[in-house]
Amino acid sequence: MNKFSIAIHGGAGTITPSSMTPDKEKAYKKALTDALSAGYTILAGGGDALDAVQQAVQLLEDCPLFNAGKGSVFTKEGKHEMDASIMCGKTLEAGAVAGVYNIKNPVKLARAIITHSDHVFLSGHGAEEFARKHRIAFEPEEYFFDALRYDQWREVRDSDRFMLDHTVEPETGEGKKFG
């Protein structure tokens, strides 16, 4: 059998090294393992790489531990504004969305752009209109809420500061690493 393989990232997590408990670590690893297994199963069955990456990302979007889909961080306005993209190495076709609200799985919308349009990049309300036309699932604001993300946002919402997923603790410098 020809070689196949898959890699995933849960981005740069919200939790600084000092606050990672054993239970949290277990939950993160389970979510990563589930997403990895889903993609791997598609590949092992002879499926397409494009389907494998979409499925893996969808599962990560569905998990509130990660900053994508359910569990996305809060904007200045207290909303969840999401971006996603997907690209096929065989055809060089690509689909991308930016600034969309309430889309359950933005990567699914990005894939639909490849399948159902001649475009590459849709944004904002137009992208949401495209999603409705192609029956991409929406969810209410509450679906995307996560208490940890909310607390992070409360710390900075009255300022002009913004935060990456991975927060470097300014006093200790903890979180800065090369690998």
Partner: protein, 134 residues
């Protein structure tokens, strides 16, 4: 931000990335995730790449496509290209973050220059590896 890259048995590569962006972001800011070539790229001639980190720097450094270009034009291995872009070029830009990448042989690279990286990979007939790089 989350993402995935894959090589299938037919030799096809693919990449995908998704994100909620940055906490407290304003003015409809977007990062590198939806920008093809910056945060996501796939080309059967070279590799598939998905990025995470401070998106503005990834856009300016055109990170994902840059990895592919180093392989295509300079003959770098996947590992060499990723290390150059993440640990050298991106650091000079001041950008923090990392990427995952896979090439046409199924080799995987997971370089990063900041903490809290959640990663996993699996090659055919090998055990899965899942790790949190603290």
């Amino acid at each position: 931000t989350v993402g995935a890259v894959a090589l299938d048995v037919k030799g096809n590569l693919a990449a995908a990335t998704s994100t909620g962006g940055m906490t407290n972001k304003n003015f409809n800011r977007i990062g590198d995730t939806p920008v093809i070539g910056a945060g996501t790229y796939a080309n059967n001639a070279t590799c598939a790449v998905s990025c995470t980190g401070h998106g503005e720097y990834f856009i300016r450094a055109v990170v994902a496509y840059d990895v592919s270009c180093l392989m295509e034009y300079k003959g770098y291995s996947l590992q060499q290209a990723c290390e150059h872009v993440v640990s050298d070029k991106l650091v000079k830009f001041g950008g923090e973050g990392g990427l995952i990448a896979i090439d046409t042989t199924g080799a995987v690279a997971l370089p990063f220059n900041s903490a809290g990286m959640y990663r996993g990979y699996r090659k055919n007939n090998e055990e899965a590896v899942v790790a949190i790089y603290k």
